[in-house]
């Protein structure tokens, strides 16, 4: 087998591997090098439409992703515990508000994080207390149409 053939195989394998790497790391978001960031938790009464992998935005800037959504039962109520994975280091006060928002009228759900003004900071793993649940458009229209609004 001559050298040219080896070279052709080499070029082919190289191009192929580059494409594989691009797809797994860039598109598949395989986190190889990323150890920055931290996790917080937030419990919501309703996260309808929110999925794992949804964006976390702060002032409209994506700062992380939803890592997990779990169901938590207590004696009085059942809530959704959302794990928020922030992909950059930042300081959040303990009166930060997390709310489930919709991009546009029918777009994807995302978490909007609005920092408060408290002196106390949240540590990694803490739970955000102030949350706003997902807005249910159907029940809003229902309230309006059937006179729930005063």
């Amino acid at each position: 087998m001559n050298t040219n053939r080896y070279a052709a195989v080499g070029v082919f394998v190289l191009i192929g591997l580059l494409c594989v790497a691009y797809m797994t790391i860039k598109l598949g978001k395989m986190e190889v090098f990323n150890d920055k960031g931290f996790e917080l938790k937030a419990s919501f009464t309703n996260v309808s439409g929110l999925r794992v992998g949804a964006d976390i935005e702060m002032a409209g800037v994506p700062v992380g992703k939803v890592a997990a959504i779990d169901l938590v039962h207590t004696q009085t109520q059942t809530t959704a515990l959302v794990t928020l994975r922030f992909e950059r280091d930042m300081e959040l006060p303990d009166d930060t508000i997390a709310s489930v928002r919709t991009a546009g009228l029918i777009g994807d759900k995302f978490i909007d994080v609005a920092p408060g003004g408290s002196e106390e900071l949240l540590e990694a793993g803490d739970t955000i207390v102030d949350t706003e649940p997902a807005l249910d458009l159907g029940s809003l229209i229902g309230k309006y149409a059937f006179g729930g609004v005063k």
């Binding site: 087998m1 053939r5 080896y6 052709a8 195989v9 070029v11 082919f12 394998v13 191009i15 192929g16 591997l17 494409c19 594989v20 691009y22 797809m23 797994t24 860039k26 598109l27 598949g28 978001k29 395989m30 992998g53 964006d55």
Partner: protein
């Protein structure tokens, strides 16, 4: 009455014999991978045939495929005012479905048919018997390197197909139809997950094994055909290899998709 049952039973019997023979052939090929002498050189040679020489074809096909997806997606999505999702449409359909399937079908035509013809001609000109006489295992000499080469080449070519296809979608969507460039790439990276990518590669590996096994099997047993003998048998074997491989690719695609989605 007996004739009726015989007419019913014969095709089933033949199909069972065929499936069993393909399965045994595949197992021999895999088993001989370890025992094969000079497998590295012969595999490299096959990667050159299956992979390197198909690279240009795959780039060409995937570019046009991505461009068509971009056009079709654009004119469909603009009706709903959500052109921003073009990136998701192009990348997900390429990575999940079109990439593995079209790559496998193109490679069946490009590389699979030549495998069948090559091995078939060796069979009818008694070269395979000559190999066995010289105590060279013909399966390990002819089939195992091709199996290994396709397991390497199919996923790599699928990856090339996906990436070039996304570039093709970019060309029509962003360069030609003036869609927002940032939205295109943002949608791609936000909608594609590791599961999609991994599932696409798994499909590519399965298709590679299927295509190679069927094509080598048809060539290897070209002399056992009932419908024809000699050179005609090689021609018929090549035809049926391509047809069976294409049908199996799409059937396996359905099974894999329903298993993993």
């Amino acid at each position: 009455m007996t004739h009726f049952f015989a007419a019913l039973g014969r095709p089933v019997w033949d199909a069972l014999i065929f499936m069993g023979s393909v399965a045994i052939f595949f197992c021999q090929g895999v088993q001989q991978t370890v025992a094969s002498s000079r497998i590295v050189q012969r595999t490299l040679r096959q990667i050159h045939v299956i992979g390197s020489q198909s690279l240009f074809l795959i780039v060409l096909i995937s570019l046009f495929c991505g461009m068509v997806l971009g056009l079709q997606g654009y004119y469909t999505l603009i009706k709903f005012g959500s052109v921003g999702f073009l990136g998701s449409v192009v990348s997900l359909s390429l990575i999940r479905e079109l990439g593995p399937v079209l790559t496998a079908i193109m490679l069946t035509g490009r590389a699979g048919s030549s495998m069948t013809a090559e091995i078939g001609v060796m069979r009818i000109s008694d070269q395979i018997d000559a190999l066995d006489v010289m105590d060279i295992n013909s399966v390990s000499y002819l089939v195992s390197p091709r199996l290994v080469a396709s397991v390497i080449s199919f996923p790599l070519l699928t990856a090339v197909f996906d990436v070039v296809g996304i570039v093709g979608g970019y060309l029509t969507g962003v360069a030609l139809l003036d869609m927002n460039q940032g939205a295109y790439f943002y949608r791609i990276s936000s909608s594609v997950t590791m599961t999609d990518v991994g599932c696409g590669f798994l499909k590519a590996v399965v298709f590679g094994l299927l295509v190679t096994t069927v094509c080598c099997h048809q060539g290897y047993f070209a002399d056992k055909r009932r419908d024809s003998v000699g050179p005609e048998a090689v021609g018929n074997a090549t035809t049926s290899a391509v047809v069976i491989a294409c049908v199996l690719i799409l059937a396996a695609d359905y099974v894999l998709t329903s298993l993993f989605l």
